[in-house]
């Protein structure tokens, strides 16, 4: 039973309500489309999709407030014989997914106007969101894999959604190819872990491995391969090649969706799997994955930021910077070396992903807005945009500076939390991470401010007229900006939940 603040109690399976609502909404969209496939009322579709995701978000928020699955109300809720688990962490991430989904659905209303197959678009977004929220709850490698695929497969379709646009198709192809390979690698990794442990439930794996590891080589390769599979989802090195292509070619709302929600989903899985199934003290003799993640984090953030600094297209710059942010978030598992305040480090990563969910989605939605206006894609094309659309540009400025870590949005505090997490680990590799975080943040400020400069300071090169101000896109962009800004003063509201949720994992 889920104890709630109200007097009534709900059955256990209701803990999965957010995922169920998302899935049902997706099916409802299919049904609506089936009633009249040629119907041209996108508002119905966008409305249902938004309603579903907002409902899921509200329910998640309610659970978070009520303490569903958290230690204070009796601990994690295990469902289907421990295949799925609902606890603070899963709800926390589900909240990220649902809110990003809601933003994307609202924004897509305008972005998609006049395009075919809208119902499919919304349905795929919601199915992917379902997959993500199941990923957050996955408590076994089997459900983890299935959920990961459930979120990946619709994403491939979404990226290639503009099927007459060569860029979109190319992006979809590359995303799919690398996704397929990495899922094969992940599957093989899981099979090797199964070979060593004989079980797939996370806690049971740790138990089995704790009892003695026969074949350390097989297990080590398996763990590395599992890590590789997660690296794909989080767009970290070495499976990051798809990210710039996919984010650039995809419709911009989809880019925002993938680069924030999908990435966060990869992270929640990585957190849970590595903390629960492969505790460092158990697999210490086999493989030091904390070291592996340290290297990955260093390479990822440096590569992402340096590549972003050399781009001349805004969307691609955001794509690379999103790789850089994956590197930051990886710090959370890279510093779990025992001396660190582990739940704090993990919580810091969660917080960063939370803030990132809003600011990055917002930034991509702004790009969507620009695409909607038909302005070009390079930095120069953004010149003087602020004269025509000051409100949207103001929002974009908040996103970008928050991404860079200036205290104008929640991004500064989450980066600070990451920084102090590295310091609390107090090892050489952690200090290295801290240094890399600082240097990369400084570098990122450089390229983010190029956009700001273009929008506000430069004079427009050609003359274009912003003719319309699409309500949906504006609402989403401004909404994301408000949340990003509010996360600065109201950071405490979120951080307590995050740290509690992280602590429950250890």
């Amino acid at each position: 039973m889920i104890p709630l603040q109200t007097s009534n109690t709900l059955p256990d399976w209701a803990a999965l309500a957010p995922a169920i609502i998302l899935a049902v909404t997706a099916l409802a969209l299919f049904l609506i489309d089936s009633i009249d496939p040629n119907d041209e009322s996108p508002s119905m579709l966008a409305g249902v999709a938004t309603l579903g995701s907002v409902l899921a978000m509200v329910v998640t928020g309610w659970y978070l407030v009520a303490g569903t699955g958290m230690p204070r109300t009796g601990g994690a809720i295990e469902l289907f014989s421990g295949q799925l688990v609902v606890d603070g962490m899963s709800l926390f991430f589900t909240f990220i997914f649902t809110s990003v989904t809601a933003l994307v659905c609202v924004a897509s209303y305008d972005y998609l106007s006049g395009r075919p197959n809208q119902a499919e678009y919304y349905a795929l977004v919601l199915l992917a969101a379902t997959g993500m929220s199941v990923m957050a709850s996955a408590n076994s490698l089997a459900t983890a894999f299935v959920a990961l695929e459930l979120s990946s497969l619709p994403s491939y379709g979404l990226v290639a959604y503009l099927k007459n646009d060569r860029g979109s198709v190319e992006a979809g192809l590359k995303y799919f190819l690398i996704g397929a390979v990495s899922s094969a690698v992940l599957a093989y990794g899981i099979s090797l872990v199964y070979a060593s442990a004989g079980v797939l439930e996370l806690a049971a794996i740790a138990e089995a491995l704790g009892a003695g590891i026969d074949n350390t080589g097989v297990l080590g390769v398996g763990i590395l391969m599992v890590a590789g599979g997660f690296a794909f989802k989080t767009a970290s090195v070495p499976f990051h090649f798809w990210a710039p292509e996919a984010y650039e070619g995809a419709p911009a709302p989809v880019s925002g969706f993938l680069s924030s929600a999908s990435k966060a989903a990869g992270f929640v899985l990585a957190f849970r799997v590595f903390v629960t199934a492969f505790p460092l003290d158990v697999v210490a003799g086999t493989i030091d994955w904390a070291l592996a993640f340290t290297v990955l984090a260093l390479v990822t953030m440096t590569l992402g930021n340096f590549a972003a600094a050399t781009q001349d297209k805004v969307k691609r710059m955001l794509a690379y910077s999103s790789i850089g942010h994956a590197g930051y978030a990886l710090i959370g598992i890279a510093v779990l070396t025992g001396t660190a305040d582990q739940s704090y480090a993990l919580g810091a990563s969660m917080l960063h992903l939370f803030v990132y969910g809003f600011m990055n989605t917002g930034a991509f939605l702004f790009v969507a807005l620009v695409e909607y206006w038909g302005v070009g894609r390079t930095f120069e094309d953004y010149n003087g945009l602020a004269k025509q659309a000051p409100v949207a540009c103001f929002a974009m400025t908040i996103f970008l500076f928050s991404l860079a870590g200036l205290p104008i949005g929640g991004g500064a505090l989450s980066k600070w939390a990451l920084l102090s997490a590295t310091a609390s680990a107090a090892t050489l590799s952690a200090y290295l991470l801290a240094a890399a975080l600082i240097v990369n943040s400084a570098l990122s400020l450089f390229y983010y401010s190029r956009v700001v400069k273009a929008m506000w300071i430069e004079d427009p090169a050609g003359d274009f007229e912003v003719s319309s101000y699409p309500t949906g896109l504006y609402a989403a962009v401004v909404g994301a900006a408000i949340v990003t800004f509010l996360l600065l003063p109201a950071f405490g509201v979120v951080s307590g939940t995050a740290f509690d949720a992280a602590a429950a994992l250890f």
């Binding site: 894999f145 695929e149 290639a160 007459n164 397929a180 099979s191 199964y194 079980v199």
Partner: protein, 100 residues
């Protein structure tokens, strides 16, 4: 009973063949087939060790793997189809609208 190492070797060989195919083939369909080979390598492991450990977890997961592989192919073929429509080719190295 066949020793577990044999299965491991077989699956590793299959996985490597798939990997080799991915690295060398430029045809998107062959690429897909190579991926399927890798997934099947995983399935072999799972089934073999399901027998070894005496539980059904591995076999059940294999069923899921099959389903997912099929879904992946369905999506993949769709993408390859639009690829062909846009580029008149299914060579994965051809589309270079964006810088790699």
């Amino acid at each position: 009973m066949v020793p577990a190492e044999y299965y491991l070797l077989l699956s590793a060989a299959m996985f490597c063949i798939g990997l080799f195919g991915i690295l060398t083939r430029r045809n998107a369909l062959l690429f897909l087939m190579s991926v399927e080979l890798m997934l099947n390598a995983a399935s072999i492991n799972l089934v073999a060790f399901s027998l070894q450990w005496g539980n059904l977890t591995g076999q059940v997961f294999t069923l899921f793997l099959m389903a997912l592989a099929a879904a992946e192919v369905a999506i993949g073929i769709g993408i390859i189809l639009v690829l062909y429509r846009n580029f008149a080719d299914i060579d994965v190295t051809k589309p270079t609208t964006m810088r790699w």
